[in-house]
């Protein structure tokens, strides 16, 4: 009985991390390794550089409403 609850907790945490953007960097790294690791077009950003670039990108349009 314990296991399903534990699993459920993990999936809740996963959803919360996803929705808050907490796992954005992990997802970026995964994407990079899948698509760009071999083509050598650009280096992978580190955590800090990625975070700053994302903030800049996100706040360039209408993101919040009345």
């Amino acid at each position: 009985m314990l296991l399903p609850i534990k699993l459920r907790m993990y999936s809740i945490i996963r959803v919360i991390r996803r929705i808050s953007g907490d796992d954005a960097y992990e997802r970026y790294v995964q994407h990079y390794q899948q698509h760009h690791a071999d083509d050598g077009s650009h280096a992978m950003l580190d955590r800090r550089a990625f975070y700053l670039a994302e903030q800049q990108r996100k706040w360039n349009g209408v993101k919040r409403c009345c």
């Binding site: 808050s20 995964q30 800090r48 994302e54 800049q56 209408v62 919040r64 409403c65 009345c66």
Partner: protein, 678 residues
């Protein structure tokens, strides 16, 4: 069986709506409204939105979405529909659906409730879903770009100008709302001020200490914010310290203007982004808590179904129920601003075309439910108390005795003792004339939340509610100034090339200053106007927002007709027609009405006469010329908004007429790419 269940839902809904509409004498329980809301939302979502998706939009599950075609791991990312729903809802839900319904309660709870419930499912939800869909089919283009592509340059420029105007008026009115909540309230001012260093701290944490750890940073930040709310309550024990945070409205307005300018030129990671994380947390948490509390507590509504103020003489804002109800409650029913959010970020995240129903229609249903919760929180107050909080001094008098006498004479009894006791409970020195909706909403929220989650913390809940509203008002203020700045830079770039460079410091400074000066002006006038700027600014904001919605509906209708589905055009054309009628008649009345409280020109003339006759006290005579100029400016502005609506409607009709005669300019839809099977 399925049909039977839906028939039952329809019947229950009809019964509940009937109950709301017929009930007049005794107080009604808020459960009636909740039941009606649930039934109407279910019907709208399961039946109407499904029909629109299938017939009008012809949603195609086999088609690749932009997120899949352009997946770059950053803005184009195929995302689970519930996650997109959460993001989109967090983006569209702001202070609007809380404030509008609160103000509209002056007509009684019934008009607002019916308009929110019925209006949302047939207008706002449809707009949001369809704009989202159209933008998704066009690689996530913005509303302005779609207007240019599908209607032509005239539509494009109208959309851009409209966006800029609404941004300026929106920021001004929201800033006025928090100024009214903070004036002579050390606790509220301290709490709101504390949000700034807390946000900066979180910004530094997210950049330097633990980069990108959004979740833990937000938890730390929210704990600090709650500590600030509670700590602010101890302020009155130290009168010297409390005095530091005790301001008149005007200095507060200047502080906000200075703040707006500084915030606009700071890098986003330092203040805007971290505060947005905090505000999103608070927003989702508090909205969830409030809706839960409304259902659990289900209070009786003390406000009557209809008040005498439907005749236009209301103290909160002037004007008859038609058209002013329909522009006062904009967000929560239909908000053009949503069209800006629905075109851009969100469409780049959808994994399947069919998700537009949940994300577009569903988010707006939830936003409408927020508006219902706000309406219930305001309508549960004693009407006398509601009007004492929301009536400006210029209408009921600046002294408590005069105000209660005036309000009681409308048959809404209230006493000075009652107001003092309430203010003491909320930890405030006074609640008279705290216009703008936020404070009365906070009183309602405090009483409902404290009876659901712990009695005796009224004052803390009240200031928590004020802080919660202030945090996302400030976020809207910063983000709006920023968006406005980009538009000005883009525009000035045509005149002088270097201005186009969005990271060139002089360009940032000049264009930000222009935007801040724009809303700062309206905020300043709103504060010095003894009749309360809310009466001027909220209707202007409503007209602007509904005008933007009309532009969005024009774009969508134009596309539907161009694609040869003229017979379904009514789905957006009818809401469009309604908005055109509402905004035009509201703008007409605001300009030409002979009553000074409604008509801008009449107000300017009345003030001129009083000034010439020497009837004004010295303090008012000094600012009268500014107020006169402002009323004239507002008349021009309202006229401009109405003209914009009609320019774009005529442009759309032209496009539709040509399409009906077989002249179809090419659309901008991206070509079909089939999803990989399996």
């Amino acid at each position: 069986m399925k049909k039977l269940i839906w028939a039952l839902v329809a019947l229950t809904g009809a019964f509940a709506v009937g109950g709301i509409a017929i009930n007049h004498g005794e107080p009604i329980n808020s459960l009636w409204i909740v039941v009606a809301a649930v039934c109407i939302y279910l019907l709208g979502y399961r039946l109407y939105s499904a029909w629109i998706a299938a017939k009008v939009l012809t949603v195609d599950e086999t088609r690749m979405t932009p997120a899949e075609v352009n997946n770059n791991g950053r803005d184009f990312v195929p995302t689970n529909k519930w996650i997109v729903f959460g993001h989109h809802f967090a983006a569209i839900a702001g202070p609007g659906p809380l404030i509008g319904p609160t103000l509209a309660v002056q007509f009684g709870y019934m008009p607002g409730a019916l308009w929110i419930l019925v209006g949302a499912v047939v207008t706002g939800c449809v707009q949001d879903m369809m704009v989202l869909f159209m933008s998704m089919r066009r690689n996530g283009r913005s509303l302005g770009q779609m207007a240019r592509d599908e209607l032509g340059p005239v539509g494009g420029y109208a959309a851009m100008l409209g966006t800029l105007m609404i941004m300026i008026i929106l920021i001004a009115v929201l800033a006025l709302v928090i100024v009214n909540a903070m004036k002579h309230s050390p606790w509220a001012t301290f709490t709101v001020a504390a949000t700034l260093p807390i946000a900066v701290l979180i910004g530094l944490y997210l950049r330097n200490i633990r980069p990108g750890r959004v979740l833990e940073a937000s938890l730390i930040g929210v704990s600090l914010l709650i500590a600030a709310v509670i700590g602010g309550g101890g302020l009155h024990q130290y009168p010297a310290l409390a005095g530091v945070f005790d301001f008149n409205a005007l200095p507060l307005a200047w502080c906000l203007i200075a703040y707006g300018l500084i915030a606009a030129v700071l890098p986003v990671w330092l203040l805007l982004a971290p505060r947005d994380y905090l505000s999103t947390f608070l927003k989702l948490g508090t909205i969830g808590l409030l809706m839960l509390a409304v259902v659990v507590v289900h209070p009786d509504l003390k406000m009557p179904a209809l008040t005498p103020f439907i005749d236009g003489s209301g103290p909160v804002f002037a004007g008859k129920i038609f058209p002013f109800l329909f522009i006062t409650i904009a967000c929560g029913v239909i908000s053009g601003f949503h069209a800006l959010v629905a075109s851009g970020t969100t469409p780049k995240l959808l994994t399947s075309e069919k998700d537009v129903r949940l994300v577009g229609y569903g988010s707006m249903v939830l936003e409408s439910a927020v508006a219902v919760a706000a309406l219930i929180s305001a309508a549960l107050l004693d009407p006398g108390v509601f009007f004492a909080i929301n009536s400006p001094a210029g209408i009921v008098g600046a002294l408590p005795d005069a105000a209660v006498a005036k309000i009681s004479s409308w048959n809404f009894p209230v006493t000075v003792d009652q107001m003092h006791a309430l203010a003491a409970q909320m930890g405030e020195s006074t609640l008279f004339a705290r216009t703008g909706g936020a404070p009365s909403l906070a009183v309602g929220m405090a009483s409902i939340l404290s009876s659901a989650f712990g009695k005796g913390f009224l004052a803390v809940w009240y200031h928590f509610a004020i802080m919660f509203e202030a945090v996302f008002i400030l976020t809207t203020l910063d983000a709006g100034t920023r968006v406005g700045r980009f538009m000005v830079q883009d525009f000035l770039g045509h005149v002088w090339k270097p201005m186009h460079n969005t990271s060139w410091y002089p360009s940032i400074l000049i264009s930000s200053a222009l935007i801040v000066a724009g809303w700062g002006y309206f905020l300043y006038i709103g504060v010095i106007d003894p009749n309360g700027g809310v009466n001027i600014l909220w209707p202007l904001f409503g007209i602007a927002n509904q005008m933007l919605a009309a532009i969005a509906l024009c774009v969508v209708t134009g596309i539907v007709v161009k694609q040869g589905r003229l017979k379904y055009a009514w789905v957006t054309a009818l809401p469009l027609a309604w908005l055109a009628i509402v905004t035009t008649s509201a703008a007409y009345e605001k300009i030409f009405s002979s009553q000074p409280r409604i008509g801008f020109i009449a107000a300017a003339d009345a003030l001129k006469e009083k000034l010439a006759a020497g009837l004004l006290p010295a303090a008012q005579a000094k600012v009268a010329p500014q107020l006169i100029f402002n009323q004239q400016l507002d008349a021009v502005l309202a006229g401009l908004l109405a003209i914009l609506v009609w320019v774009i409607i005529l442009d759309t009709l032209r496009v539709c007429w040509r399409a009906a005669n077989g002249v179809v300019a090419p659309g901008s839809e991206t070509p079909y790419i089939a999803k990989a099977v399996g």
